[in-house]
Symmetry: C2
């Protein structure tokens, strides 16, 4: 099979971790007789520096022409304390999501037995956790009308959802639940918000099409609690953009393996795969960043975008092997030898 | 001193826990030579049953005439699965907040050494946690324009904030920080929302008036993570209504003492004190609910609404004593003897 993949390395540690995912993907492709054509595009602060905008048209064309996009991380500290900056790396992210129609962010939270003690939660709370949050990514208050009135003294943001947007996301949620524990939790704030009432009503109407799926409806504040109390009681959660932003990040820290969590963003035109961690600028260029989340994102890509499940399994297996044998970067090494980012990538590619 | 207190017991376990707070308050008042006049009002499902609305005018008048309001809990399961119900207990809550101008919800999260092992978090993560979240309570998306378009297929909600609303809340935050660890964290989503940019800009302009306070600005998604990772790194957090709803609930479960956490809502007309737990309908009428959060809310009331700090300290001391001597309800008793709600109240009143 010929795989056309767009490669957006981005900022900070992005390029370093992406490099390892490329090595491992190429090794898997060679092993299974596929050929990968990688095409790189600029994004984030790197793109602002080069061409003045964080998601240039040229990058968009590369993504549109690809079968899948592998993404590193974006963001640079020089934008953090400058609220006046006209162009910001995050704008590129939002523009890209909209332009590629990346309507569903798929965020698994699971545990690695060997890393479970890194969790801030007690072992008995986190053990067995295997949940997926599906976050709507191209609607809601992120993309509604916003502005100022009264000489700037009043600000407003608008949250809008259509039945179609909710249906599209919920469908994915029901289908995903069918392949797993058959439990779906719709997270909303239907006791206050009209958009939440539309969500709830739309999902309720879909229940009859998936009689095997047990559906629950929970308020976002209650979910923020239960994710810390009993994360292993969840299977698939679906939610709107802003709630998803908060809950996926909350969920990410409970596993004890935040540096290892991959994600996918399902698109109308193409889908994108990326580690959930950020650009971690302090570590950039030092060859110390943990590449496993990006490598596991590549595994998601093989499975999701190309239906290549054996290839995905091969990547996951070699990652587990590297953990078992202690071929890990300093964040996981404890008192043992810490490998460099590139050494971990080389080892994975050699052992896949 | 003569204290006029409105008493809104509400639904579920509300009346039972409120009873104990009344006993303890009366005992403290007797000891320190105060006189309390309690006036009861209907609220929640109880009020819907009696007069058809969850926050009747008569109740509002009682609150307006009082120096402080002591509140139990509201909510009844018969409304939970009925999205068509025209009148709901929560509407009473929102109406009351608006009518009394309860603009700031003060939500402390702290730990009791003897209960720390109840936390889902590991001891070393939670130990030393003592933070307060100030949630704006009468603005934002809770009270903005909302509705439907396109035959009901499109829904919208509007989030609005004025500089005045932000200033009022932030002022309380700065002042509170001055009495504590002198750290203030403004929680927003200024990389996306215009209202958040107004928040950030308004707080930034106030920094110069509180040179001793160290102010940080963090995105809500990052705070949702750090609250689980390093809750003891926070002092005072200020945030808008919806973010506050989510984060205060998330924070409440980390202490391991959710059943003990009190809260205050500062008002323009009067202030209200209530336990953070809900109406817990399954336990209603069984004399088993833990009354300590309501008793500690009464302590907050003595201190906050009347400046009676010695009285507040006396209540907190007797609560600590009950914990130390194991005079606790079944949720805290473990293998030891469980006391009834009313027995705990009697013991506290006798020992204060
Ligand atoms: C950078 C920011 C705009 C973005 C978001 O809020 O969507 C980020 O937090 C994320 O979750 O990918
Ligand atoms: C019941 C609901 C409307 C309310 C809120 O969201 O404010 C509750 O969750 C709370 O936090 O007091």
């Amino acid at each position: 099979m010929k795989l056309n993949i767009a490669l957006l390395a981005g900022d900070g540690i992005g390029p370093e971790v992406i490099d390892q995912a490329v090595k491992v993907s190429n090794a898997v492709a060679a092993k299974f007789g596929h050929e990968i054509a990688w095409t790189s595009g600029l994004t984030g602060a790197a793109a602002i520096d080069a061409v003045g905008e964080p998601y240039p048209d040229a990058t968009h064309e590369i993504c549109m022409a690809a079968d899948a996009v592998l993404f590193g991380a974006i963001g640079h500290p020089r934008f953090d304390n400058d609220p006046t900056a006209k162009v910001r790396p995050e704008q590129g992210l939002l523009k890209m999501r909209k332009a590629l129609g990346l309507y569903a962010n798929v965020r698994p939270t699971f545990t690695f037995p060997s890393l479970i003690d890194n969790s801030p939660l007690k072992r008995e709370r986190i053990e067995g956790t295997d949940l997926i949050i599906l976050r709507e990514l191209t609607g809601g208050i992120y993309f509604g009308e916003r502005g100022r009135r009264d000489d700037g003294d009043t600000a407003y943001d608008t949250c809008t959802y259509t039945k179609e947007e909710v249906t599209r996301l919920a469908k994915l949620g029901f289908e995903l639940a069918m392949t797993r524990g058959k439990k779906l939790c719709c997270v909303d704030k239907a006791n206050v918000l009209e958009t939440s009432r539309l969500w709830r009503q739309t999902v309720q109407a879909m229940e009859k099409d998936y009689p095997e799926v047990t559906v629950s409806y929970e308020f976002v504040d209650a979910v923020a609690m239960r994710l810390v109390q009993w994360p292993n009681s969840y299977d698939v959660l679906i939610t709107e953009n802003l709630f998803g932003d908060i809950l996926t990040d909350e969920a990410s820290v409970i596993s004890g393996s935040m540096g290892l969590m991959p994600s996918a963003s399902k698109g109308i035109h193409t889908s994108l795969y990326e580690p959930i961690h950020g650009s971690y600028p302090q570590a950039a260029g030092k060859d110390i960043a943990n590449p496993l989340a990006t490598v596991l994102s590549a595994a998601m890509m093989f499975e999701d975008a190309f239906g290549l499940t054996a290839e995905a399994a091969a990547i996951r297996d070699v990652v587990n092997k590297s953990l078992a044998e202690g071929v890990v970067t300093e964040d996981l090494a404890g008192k043992n030898k810490a490998y460099k980012t590139s050494e971990v990538g080389d080892w994975l590619a050699a052992n896949v």
